[in-house]
């Protein structure tokens, strides 16, 4: 049992257990999430993504330091990949943040993707809701960082920081992965390395040619910007991504990053006054919850009542095709 009071008073043990339940898909978690939801909306949610070796964890560590200096409490959600072979995972992001392990105002939690693609876990939305409701003021989400299609974080975060390092070919990767479009801020990390200035200018150039200008945004009427068919990007009107040079290992440039974050947070809050903006964000969030609810219903229908075996029997004896069977299952399940 986890008490709501314990969660709302930010009890670490209770909070950590709730996250475990969320992560494991324990049915009790949903009840608690319903009760916690009214308490959400106070935290600032920041996503940090970028390729392996770009220095995400070290940069996250620096941000923890700065926010703590401002007296804010910080929760970190660090996502690493699960092994597709064993289902296990080796979660090492917190190594670089261990200095904060004994600070009561810092909470660090590692998650494995467990097969989920997109840079987060299947339940990161719920995890962030829980942390927000518990009263963590800053919630930092560090994505997997394997450089593939890690665009989910921008739906969840208020501000998305894309971290890059010169000389890793990150610029090219970024375009390929569609990561360029999700950045509110670019942190060109390890900027003491050769090629940092070139990375900055290349980014600048790509933004100049590729990004829809504020004027055009206005023409689209509102703050919603549709970048492509898969990813709906919601960002404050008129925001042009900032590029900041950092050296996470020494802390150089992190103050500038903090300034950029503060500016974007302000822009985000202003945009939230706009109903269409709020609506668009709610839409994204609801669709995520709804998609999972649909999937879970369907999955348990298949698994728990032996429906799957019946379907497999029909497939094996050749009496039906998978398309028809799937359609029928959906019809039965949702009484369509």
């Amino acid at each position: 049992m986890i008490s709501l009071d314990a969660l709302l008073s930010r009890d670490v043990r209770a909070g950590a257990r709730l996250l475990r339940w969320i992560d494991d898909g324990n049915a009790e978690a949903r009840g608690l999430l319903k009760q916690l939801y009214p308490h959400t909306g106070k935290g600032t949610i920041i996503g940090i993504t970028g390729n392996p070796g770009a220095g995400k964890s070290t940069l996250t560590d620096q941000l923890i330091h700065r926010y703590r200096k401002q007296g804010k409490s910080v929760a970190v959600v660090a996502v690493d990949p699960s092994s597709p072979f064993s289902g296990g995972a080796l979660l090492g992001d917190r190594i670089r943040m261990q200095e904060h392990a004994v600070d009561d105002d810092v909470f660090i939690r590692s998650f494995a993707t467990r097969g989920h693609l997109g840079g987060l876990t299947n339940t990161t939305t719920d995890v962030v809701h829980a942390l927000d409701a518990m009263g963590w003021q800053i919630i930092l989400i560090e994505t997997v960082g394997v450089g593939q299609d890690e665009v989910e974080v921008q739906r969840l975060a208020h501000t998305t920081v894309v971290t890059m390092a010169p000389g890793l070919g990150d610029e090219i990767q970024a375009i390929k992965a569609g990561i360029l479009e999700i950045a509110d801020i670019f942190a060109v990390n390890k900027s003491d390395r050769e090629g940092a200035d070139r990375t900055v200018s290349e980014l600048q150039m790509m933004l100049d040619i590729g990004y829809v200008s504020p004027a055009e945004q206005a023409h689209h009427g509102g703050s919603i910007l549709l970048r492509d068919q898969r990813q709906e990007r919601v960002c404050p009107q008129g925001w042009v991504p900032h590029i900041v040079k950092t050296i996470a290992t020494t802390g150089d440039g992190v103050d500038e990053l903090m300034t950029a974050l503060a500016e974007h947070t302000q822009a985000f809050q202003n945009a939230c006054q706009d109903e269409s903006f709020g609506r668009a964000r709610q839409r994204q969030e609801f669709l995520d919850v709804f998609r999972r609810a649909l999937f879970e219903r369907g999955w348990s229908y298949l698994m728990h009542e032996d429906h799957l075996n019946q379907i497999l029997d029909q497939l094996l004896d050749g009496s039906a095709d998978p398309y028809t069977l799937a359609e029928e299952a959906v019809k039965t399940l949702y009484r369509l």
């Binding site: 070796g53 090492g92 190594i95 670089r96 261990q98 200095e99 290992t249 020494t250």
Partner: protein
């Protein structure tokens, strides 16, 4: 070349007919025991090496004579016929008083040099009373906080008569400074003392992980030491570039060779970049390798190491003095090869490992004691270990001729192979921008981690045999008693430290610490400051704390 073209062709022809007529027929009836025969590093070993595998072999180019370029056969013209290697058992535990006793015991047993093992707090730059030192005081080595401890440790040991090796890295300069002042108090001037500080911070980042500062300020401290010693302590070996720990962390033999030499290249480059003349400091660089279990692989490794280093120093750095080209090395038998199961077998392992180091031409040697996977060695166990060296030196006869395995087709082939494979790694590290950038991206760390995991998998699948662990196992009690270090040591040490702090001149201490901070921020020589500071009984923990404030701290980058 070993053979002219005609003779070589004849040999190749007879080898072909031997293969067809003899070998293949036999194999058809009696297959070999395995499909692959590999070294402990998983390097595939051929069935037979004949002149066919060494068609271009050039004696002058590849081997030369002992004491002459490229030093493959040894660094001195007479090798062990002139002087045996230094028998140097690594020792240190408990309080400085305990260790002083062990040192005197070892010298009485015929040991010819001292080697100090410090406890973890000293290695990491904490005093014994620091909260981080909890549970660690005197456990893995001797506790040294201030000059007082160094004075006690060397009491009654004349520092102009023995040489001392100190396994210390982050705080190396401070401990050397203490040694210099102890000698001074004995009336021995700095230019008369001899020994080694490990001072090899790069391998700490790669493998041993007793680091304090980030790589770049660490390199600055090292170049300060190089420059100070060149002028003031000319007989001191300023860096012992160590592969030992790289191997213990699970690397292959080739990785040990390559990463160690890459570290060496890094130090030489740093010295040159700091404005030193390569021939001024290179002669005082020495090396430290692991003597592991795969007999010939190890011998080939040492021979290849000498050849690569000579070539690198000459061709890459343009060193001119012969002493700059010579790779002198200490070796230690492989701690990680010892087993807790049937531990007396460790004596046998250590013996063959030590023999490989001697056949590979080592300059000094530590042989592990049979009880070292269980605890620090007892006096009894360390005596057997020392006797092992003495038996090799006095009874086996292997010391009578120089490089007895030189010219063995197999050993020469393997030496070439080790050199070629190591050079591939060194080139890769050059491509990454040198050893420091390579460490920063975790390249050597990851290679070693993968090799360690691979080997463990082989042991668990019984592809590699460890006697008593995955074959020939039997339950048994530990047949000897172990050395115990109780918490009383910590209390004594902390009390002594407090006593030192009470007695010293606090104003002078603060002035010295302030000066260290200033010099660390500017460009002066830190080593000079260390000598003055320890003379006033500034503790090593205090000095390191000041430097942490200026240089920051290195943290585990957690390469998984």
């Amino acid at each position: 070349m070993l053979y002219d073209r005609k003779s070589l062709e004849e040999i190749i022809q007879s080898q072909e007919s031997w293969t067809k007529e003899e070998l293949n027929k036999l194999l058809a009836r009696f297959p070999e025991r395995d499909v692959r025969f590999t070294t402990i590093s998983d390097l595939e070993i051929p069935r037979l090496v004949s002149p066919e595998a060494l068609p271009e072999f050039d004696y002058d180019q590849e081997l030369g004579f002992p004491g002459s370029y490229p030093y493959t056969r040894g660094v001195q013209p007479s090798m062990y016929r002139g002087r045996l290697w230094t028998m140097r058992q690594f020792a240190g535990f408990g309080t400085p008083e305990d260790t002083n006793q062990r040192f005197r015991f070892l010298l009485n047993q015929g040991q010819t040099g001292l080697s100090v093992a410090f406890h973890y707090p000293t290695l990491m730059g904490y005093d014994s009373d620091h909260p981080r030192s909890l549970g660690e005081v005197g456990k893995c080595g001797v506790a040294v906080d201030s000059l007082r401890d160094m004075e006690v440790m060397f009491e009654g040991i004349p520092l102009d008569k023995v040489t001392t090796s100190m396994t210390i890295n982050g705080p190396a300069g401070i401990l050397l400074a203490m040694y210099i002042v102890v000698a001074e108090k004995q009336g021995v001037p700095a230019d008369k003392i001899g020994g080694t500080i490990q001072n090899d911070i790069l391998k700490e980042y790669i493998a041993q992980k007793s680091w304090i500062f980030p790589p770049r300020p660490s390199m600055r401290i090292i170049t300060d030491i190089l420059s100070y010693c060149t002028h003031n302590v000319p007989r001191w070996n300023t860096i012992s570039i160590s592969g030992y720990h790289i191997r213990e962390a699970g690397s292959t033999a080739v990785q040990e060779l390559a990463f160690t030499l890459a570290d060496g290249i890094g130090y030489v480059q740093a010295g040159i970049d700091a404005g030193l003349d390569v021939d001024d400091f290179a002669p005082r660089l020495s090396f430290f390798f692991n003597a592991h279990s795969d007999f010939f692989e190890e011998i080939a490794k040492y021979r290849a190491a000498r050849r690569i280093w000579a070539r690198v120093m000459k061709e890459r750095f343009g060193a001119k003095k012969a002493a700059s080209l010579k790779l002198r090395f200490h070796s230690q038998t492989a701690g990680c090869s010892l087993t807790a199961q049937q531990p007396i077998n460790n004596v046998v392992r250590t013996t063959t490992q030590a023999l490989s180091a001697v056949l590979g031409g080592t300059q000094s040697l530590h042989t592990n004691s049979m009880d070292e996977t269980l605890a620090l060695p007892t006096e009894g166990a360390v005596t057997v270990a020392l006797r092992t060296q003495q038996i090799i030196a006095e009874e086996t006869g292997v010391v009578h001729t120089i490089d007895p395995l030189g010219g063995s087709y197999f050993v020469e082939w393997l030496t070439n192979k080790m050199e070629a494979d190591a050079m591939k790694y060194i080139e890769k590290i050059d491509d990454l921008g040198g050893i420091i950038p390579a460490i920063e991206v975790g390249y050597p760390q990851k290679e070693i981690g993968d090799a360690a995991y691979h080997y463990q998998g082989q042991v668990e699948k019984n592809e590699k045999i460890v006697v008593g662990v995955n074959k020939y196992c039997k339950e048994e009690e530990i047949p000897f008693s172990l050395l115990k270090i109780d918490e009383e040591v910590a209390h004594t040490q902390v009390a002594n430290l407090q006593e030192v702090k009470r007695k010293r001149d606090e104003q002078k201490v603060q002035a010295q610490l302030k000066r260290i901070a200033e010099v660390a921020r500017s460009e002066g020589n830190l080593m000079e400051c260390f000598v003055d500071a320890v003379r006033e009984y500034c503790t090593q923990g205090e000095i390191i704390e000041v430097l942490r404030g200026v240089f920051g701290e290195h943290r585990d980058p957690g390469m998984l």
